[in-house]
Symmetry: C2
Subunit: 370 residues, 2 copies
């Protein structure tokens, strides 16, 4: 650390230069995050001092967290719930599996091959075995195969509502029915899907199913809130109790979250954007993303590429053998796309920052590269 | 979620009212967090869009994280290190113990009775046993007792540099020597102490000891950065490797952190305040906190209270049988203090937001209550 500090102007000038070295979001099709809504930023700033882990000092942030949780539950059609705001989908996955493990005192859980890598992270952290269930031709989990993998030490099943690589949705009704018969709780990873699915009528996903113990969702993805903002819902108090710890020196009695100190500003930011956009606002945004998704599919079809699945949401993947080379070449031209592994190809996430014009420019560059 | 959104003005007005319901920090002696430095807030705002978990889009945030880590290491006198920015001390404790568990494939670790509750959280999450070592009369860990608790499944020891209840520092040289002989790595929880100890010359703590595998520190405590900002240092790459996960769809190859998506803004904010204050700036702040700590001790001695230990840093605890009643009464008068359990009493954290005038007013109110 330097002995004498540098002036504010100097430090901020350095940071401005560094900030300008980024690839602007307009050229980014690889990210599930986007620019936070301006009202989320304003609300975050107002509450930036607050610690949600010590809300005796800031009682309003607890109230805001509770509102965010209940608004999310209502949005997903869930009537009976408890929950809290997480730092994001990874914490939610870890905490949900931790709750399930603790309640059942189990040793393994089953996740589909299409799971997010945070599920693998959770299995290492929690010291439990992850069994991987195969997928069907639509890249959904194969429910019969999944059922056969259940043993006496299985404490939970992970299902996806918006898979990372394809935005695919697992057959939740079928999984729930099977899980109820086998008495195994199901955690639904809806990190991406929670704030998209309710606004696409054709999807008609029922989240309020027996055996669903928990659902995760990330307002800092399609919810357009500030990073870090996530939510985790549980169907029963016993799951929250299983991850509770007493907090003697704080102004609270106990806490559920993974971090201790955590930003109250995230609760304010998320509440602000929920209230300001409302269902109509989110619907408009999602509809625009879906129009752009249809557009990119048309443009890619002209180049001879078909999407791996008919997109359920604003994620689309095209099979591509030499994705590594193509991705490199695109990066040189300042376009960022993702690599999909299963199947091997190029994944595009069509977020609110994606413009029609840029999609056309992108495809022109892609044409030159191929 | 409401169908139609509410106007920005309306939402922000509601939030302003909620924000005004807080107890202002000036009256808070219970918190290890404080108002973030204005430059940290400005820097955070500039980078608020950025995701440190996907820094291919924002390469500068990775650079900022690396600078924060190396500045912290240099501040603590550590030459050989690797590390990253965490969401705070809890993540750091979980990740450090996870790394140690994974490297040794161990089943238990030993922590002092004075440990923070996040250590208990870690032991549940990681599915390992926590053995609790007794303290000596100075409320430091009893090193001989600790040594006797080591068995063949022990993978680590936790030592404190700034205990939660007293701000006590464990005898690191003695612990390190013993740990080297027993070949057990030591994780130092310096969540509070990392950004205080280097600025109090009399303390002269050596963090660069053999057997110290990891050290945590929270810039969002005395570092005056924005929540969430933490750092975790490891002495060797093998520990980082033990908590690594591959990240196929992101612009990165792998990640070490507990969350996936995480705020690049925290790296910018922390770098900004480090650079703007420098050692001189932090020293001035710490010195003022220590003067206020001495002042409150004088004032409390006039009421007949002695500190449990001679404070090592700006945390002071006074034994008090009826702390529960006193705390309630103080809260009615809008003063927030903490309850200490071991020993039973009142803990005060004398942060930069604490003013001399308020300490005097506080003691006057306390006098009336007793």
């Amino acid at each position: 650390m330097r002995k004498s500090g540098r002036s504010e102007e100097e430090v901020l000038r350095e940071l401005e230069e560094m900030w300008n070295s980024r690839i602007p979001y307009e050229r980014v099709f690889s990210s599930m995050c986007t620019k936070p809504h301006p009202i989320a930023v304003k609300a975050f700033l107002l509450f930036i001092e607050s610690n949600l882990g010590d809300f005796g000092i800031f009682p309003s942030v607890k109230e805001l967290e509770d509102k965010v949780v209940s608004i999310s539950a209502e949005l997903l059609g869930i009537k009976k719930f408890c929950g809290y705001m997480t730092s994001g989908g990874t914490e939610a996955n870890i905490q949900a599996l931790r709750a399930l493990r603790n309640v059942k005192r189990g040793k393994n859980f089953i996740a589909p091959k299409s799971r997010h890598f945070s599920i693998d992270k959770a299995s290492d952290i929690l010291g439990v075995e992850m069994k991987i269930a195969p997928l069907n031709e639509e890249y959904q989990v194969d429910v019969s195969a999944l059922e056969e993998m259940i043993d006496e030490n299985t404490f939970g099943i992970v299902a996806l509502a918006g898979s990372t690589e394809l935005g695919q949705i697992d057959p939740l009704e079928e999984i729930s029915k099977m899980a109820s018969e086998c008495d195994i709780p199901v955690h639904v990873d809806a990190a991406f899907g929670a704030f998209v699915i309710p606004f696409i009528d054709e999807l008609d996903v029922n989240f309020s199913l027996p055996s669903i113990s928990s659902i995760s969702g990330d307002p800092h993805k399609m919810g357009m809130s500030v990073i870090p903002s996530g939510i985790l819902l549980f169907s029963e108090e016993k799951y929250m109790d299983a991850i509770k710890v007493r907090t003697p020196y704080l102004t609270t009695k106990h806490q559920y979250s993974l971090p201790g100190t955590r930003p109250g500003a995230s609760a304010a930011a998320t509440y602000a954007v929920f209230e300001h956009l409302g269902k109509e606002g989110y619907r408009k945004i999602v509809e625009r993303c879906m129009r752009n998704t249809k557009l990119i599919i048309e443009l890619m079809e002209e180049l001879g590429f078909e999407p791996v699945i008919e997109p359920k949401m604003n994620i689309v993947t095209f099979e591509m053998e030499d994705i590594d080379r193509i991705r490199e070449e695109l990066k040189k031209r300042r376009w960022l796309v993702s690599k999909s592994l299963n199947p091997l190809g190029m994944r595009l996430v069509i977020m609110p920052h994606v413009e029609e014009e840029n999609l056309k420019l992108f495809v022109e560059d892609l044409k030159r590269i191929i």
